[in-house]
């Protein structure tokens, strides 16, 4: 379990270190991210060979102490976070390892980034390892505050407004969530996740679950509670947007998946509500992405759509004790995290080179940020869910299960959503392909930056993940139900 302790504690320690010594922040960040990656791989390997693990911090047992639980689903989420974290750290490396003395505004952004990002990482890890709802509430708060910090980091008026809305919505969601936790305690006298099945049997318990999901819906930016999200994700710095869109919303989605798995077949109404809202979000997000004029906004609305898709997958999955359909949702989350992070990093590079992110101005003739555009295109393939990406395997598992049940309406919605995502993403890629003979003879191709490497590496990983789906699926198969 050493790995679990490292994952839950090290990022926080590094965050403190980075805050205390701003000039060395990047070194703290890089070291912590790499150790985090190693620890998550070790943890996954250990779970693959030895099954689930559980540990009580300081040997205090459940009701009072904090217990860490690591199973296959947690390992998949932790590895996902660690991989994205590595790429984000690489992108942030382009600011330089050691800050010069007396830097100006730029270095405030850099010094602020690392502690906030490390705290976000720690909160996510702790969230995935938590075994009870109250601890999860606490990790949500840390996550929310540090994520808001990331949003506001650029200090522009837009990003501050977005951060305010984000924080206000997040707090309201948390309060509702907390009420749900308290009611759950009132209903069954405990708050660990294993108590969820018992909740289904009482009226108070069902109310508690409803409130918990309402809180999660705000935090996950599930339609129609997504209002705070596009502005927040599109106005942050690229590395921050990648973290927010790829990872932070996954915290809430993960918990939704976890609870539906634990609750089994007993929460039919809630599942249907999730599926309906998910489908609506998928269509609405796609529609807004089709109409978006700015690249970052398009990608942010695509996150609304993809969250809808994942929620739909959580909602329509059959009883997990008899079917593996829920694994589709986990796989879609994994695929979305990698691809969306890659996409935001690529967009960041494109905007940095072009000086703007208007979609209509992408086909500049004298400048071609080719590598970043290519990374964007590969990430788009993953997001649409074309073979051989993990998104495709996820959709395959989902459709397979739905066909068995004869649920043709959901299948039609799923395929419709896929077509829409192809439509809005091809808008961008087609602009990137424009050029041909129009490109001026002296067209400049920007130098490679670490940000390009990060985006391309992440996008390629997302693409290759489909062929390696056997690994996450084996991990998920071992998840105790």
């Amino acid at each position: 379990m050493t790995e679990a302790y490292v994952l839950a504690l090290l990022p926080f320690l590094a965050a403190v270190g980075a805050a205390a010594t701003p000039r060395m922040a990047a070194i703290w960040g890089l070291c912590a991210t790499l150790i985090n990656l190693g620890a998550s791989i070790l943890l996954a390997a250990r779970i693959l060979s030895g099954g689930d693990m559980r540990a009580d911090l300081g040997d205090w047992p459940a009701p009072l102490g904090i217990s860490l639980v690591a199973d296959g689903l947690a390992a998949v989420m932790l590895s996902m976070t660690a991989i994205v974290a590595t790429a984000v750290a690489l992108q942030a490396m382009s600011w330089g390892l050691v800050q010069p003395r007396g830097g100006q505004q730029r270095s405030r952004l850099q010094a602020g980034f690392w502690p906030l990002w490390l705290a976000t990482l720690g909160a996510l890890n702790a969230l995935f390892l938590s075994g009870d709802l109250f601890n999860i509430y606490v990790t949500f708060e840390i996550l929310g505050l540090s994520a808001v910090g990331l949003t506001a980091l650029t200090g522009s008026r837009n990003s501050l407004r977005a951060a305010f809305d984000y924080l206000a919505a997040g707090l309201a969601g948390s309060l509702v969530f907390l009420l749900g936790v308290a009611l759950a305690y009132a209903a069954v006298g405990r708050v660990d996740l294993a108590a969820v099945p018992a909740l289904v049997d009482t009226a108070t318990g069902r109310l508690a679950l409803g409130l918990i999901f309402a809180g999660l819906a705000v935090k996950a930016a599930l339609f129609p509670l997504h209002f705070w999200m596009p502005a927040a994700h599109s106005s942050a710095a690229p590395a921050a947007s990648a973290v927010l869109s790829a990872l932070v919303v996954k915290g809430a989605l993960y918990l939704a998946l976890r609870i539906t798995i634990e609750a089994g077949a007993g929460i039919e109404v809630l599942r249907i509500a999730l599926a309906v809202l998910g489908a609506a979000g998928m269509l609405w997000g796609s529609w807004m992405a089709l109409r978006a004029e700015r690249l970052k906004l398009l990608v942010a609305y695509s996150t609304v759509a993809q969250i809808g898709l994942i929620t739909l997958a959580i909602g329509v999955a059959d009883d997990p004790s008899t079917s593996a359909m829920w694994q589709a949702a986990a796989l879609l989350m994994l695929s979305h995290a990698l691809a969306k992070a890659a996409m935001f990093l690529a967009v960041g590079r494109i905007a940095e080179e072009l000086g703007h992110d208007r979609i209509s101005g992408l086909n500049r003739t004298d400048l071609r940020p080719g590598v970043a555009e290519f990374a964007f295109a590969i990430a788009a393939v993953s997001l649409i869910g074309l073979p051989p990406t993990a998104g495709f395997i996820g959709k395959w598992l989902l459709i397979d299960g739905l066909i068995d049940r004869g649920a043709w309406v959901w299948i039609a919605l799923l395929l419709g959503g896929t077509a829409l995502s192809a439509a809005y993403l091809s808008r961008v890629v087609s602009r990137c392909l424009r050029g041909g003979p129009h490109v001026a003879p002296g067209a400049r191709r920007p130098e490679w930056r670490t940000g390009d490497v990060a985006a391309l590496g992440l996008a390629t990983t997302a693409l290759a993940l489909g062929l390696g789906s056997a690994l996450p699926l084996t991990l998920l198969n071992g998840t105790a139900l």
Binding site: I399, D400, S430, G435, G436, L467
Partner: protein, 490 residues
């Protein structure tokens, strides 16, 4: 070592693609070297594989993706047929494209996706189950899109959008059909005479629906009426791309998919049992006539060829759908024959456009005198398409016709005769203008045609002659298809 041959064949182009994409635009020699090395290597490896398969060798490579879901590469006789076509024509088209795009922009991007496109084609040829087929089929869509829009004009982007909408839509249908079939039958490996067991008795309706979805999915690429709309539009692409799309990659992938679905997933008996052959044959017949009729009125040379492709590819579908072994030989052989004939026509048409700026039928006057080499190649290709003996097209039509009689469908003879008349009606005027009219006064030379542009069409024209004259040799397309058909119909 030999068992890794399919993987090696796939990798020659799959690895070449990212390398070429990463090469700087200026590094012309390096790019050409990698291109030609990969293409040559592939021809050699495919030849090796053909010999091994003819000797009864079996190739199966699997990679587990999810429970019950394998990535499966195999090489059987039908694979080899398609592989040989793509390897040889890729080699020739690569040479042509290097010459054609000399001095153009974005060549690294072009050749990168060109390689990826062939990798997808090769993957389709060697797919061992429907899932693997689907993966490479979609990859083909993605790899060809940048080629279609390569010129970067508004017109080519419109064509690209329409192409993408058609093919991704088809991809969705194919995906749904495939998942559905997997949900019913588990893994769907390709095997002669079908793999569905007793499903035709227990779930005939579902199987019929799946068949429609699958055929609609691959039918988009095969340009089956009414799913053919993208093909004439995508003619805005550079000539080597058109050649590749029409002769080797896209439409052939569709036609090949129809073969796989009918022969190796459903099996001839099941298709007959479910009564699915007749509608498919009727659709093919409509497409044959429709394409030919539309070709008559096109003045743009490449558009005329495009409609001709729509018509000719459906010969393959017709041969498959008639469910007679003799017709099957004709259809399968036409996969190759149409490929070499159509590529000849497109490469020659590209040379007309490059050498003299001639892009329309009405401007073809006197081309025989101005560019005799290209015009001879074009003539051989046209006569082959019409079905003049002893060229390749005659062999296919002969077998298709006899197959029609064999299947008790004498209407097929009338269809073939009508189609051949139409073929003659839209090809012969071009030949007449080229050979018997005088060239316009002082026709300007736009560009000198170097050997890289001249040799490929000559080579494919020679192949047309060879495929017809040597039809009875064991390794000729006809000989090989007889071998395949003997496995499908026992």
């Amino acid at each position: 070592m030999t068992e890794l041959l399919p993987l090696a064949i796939l990798m020659t182009s799959l690895c070449a693609a990212p390398i070429i994409l990463a090469i700087p635009e200026r590094a012309r020699t390096l790019r050409t070297t990698i291109n030609l090395t990969a293409a040559t290597l592939k021809v050699g490896l495919v030849a090796w594989l053909s010999i091994a398969v003819a000797a009864g060798g079996e190739f199966n490579l699997r990679l587990g993706i999810a429970p019950g879901l394998d990535l499966h590469l195999q090489a059987d006789a039908l694979s080899v047929l398609f592989l040989a076509l793509s390897a040889v024509l890729w080699f020739l088209t690569t040479i042509y494209a290097i010459g054609y795009l000399e001095g153009g922009a974005d060549r690294s991007r072009f050749f990168g996706f060109f390689s990826l496109c062939v990798a997808a084609t090769v993957g389709i040829a060697m797919a061992g189950n429907l899932f693997t087929f689907l993966i490479f089929f979609e990859l083909l869509t993605l790899a060809t899109w940048p080629l279609v829009v390569h010129r970067g004009t508004a017109e080519s982007h419109r064509a690209g959008r329409i192409y993408l909408a058609y093919t991704l839509g088809g991809g969705l249908a194919l995906t749904l059909g495939t998942v559905w079939l997997y949900a019913l039958a588990g893994d769907v490996p390709f095997a002669p005479r079908g793999v569905l067991g007793d499903l035709p008795q227990t779930a005939p309706l579902a199987l019929t629906a799946i068949f429609v979805l699958l055929i609609a999915g691959v039918g988009v690429k095969a340009a089956l009426f009414p799913l053919h709309g993208w093909l004439p539009l995508s003619m805005v692409a550079p000539a080597p791309v058109s050649a590749l799309l029409h002769a080797v990659a896209v439409v052939k992938a569709g036609a090949f998919g129809i073969m796989r679905i009918v022969y190796d997933v459903y099996g001839v008996e099941t298709v007959q049992l479910l009564g699915l052959a007749a509608p498919l044959a009727a659709l093919a017949a409509v497409t044959i006539i429709w394409g030919s009729v539309r070709a008559l009125t096109q003045d743009d040379l490449k558009k005329r060829l495009a409609y001709s492709t729509i018509s000719q590819v459906s010969y393959i579908t017709l041969g498959v759908a008639l469910l007679s072994p003799v017709a099957a030989v004709g259809g399968l052989a036409h996969l190759i024959h149409q490929g070499i004939m159509k590529i000849t026509l497109f490469l020659a048409a590209g040379n007309f456009a490059e050498g003299r700026g001639v892009k329309t039928v009405s401007a073809m006057d006197g081309m025989g005198r101005l560019m005799p080499g290209a015009t001879i190649a074009f003539t051989i290709g046209s006569l082959g398409m019409i079905g003049v003996p002893p060229l390749a097209g005659f062999v296919s039509k002969w077998y298709l016709g006899s197959g029609g009689l064999d299947a008790g469908q004498p209407m097929v003879i009338a269809l073939l005769a009508g189609s051949s008349l139409l073929n003659a009606a839209y090809f012969l005027p071009i030949l007449y203008r080229a050979w018997f009219r005088d060239p316009p006064e002082g026709a300007p030379v736009k560009r000198r045609i170097g050997w890289m542009l001249a040799v490929p069409p000559a080579a494919t024209a020679a192949l047309i002659l060879a495929a017809g004259l040597l039809a009875n040799a064991p390794f000729s397309p006809l000989g090989w298809t007889r071998f395949i058909v003997s496995l499908e119909y026992l």
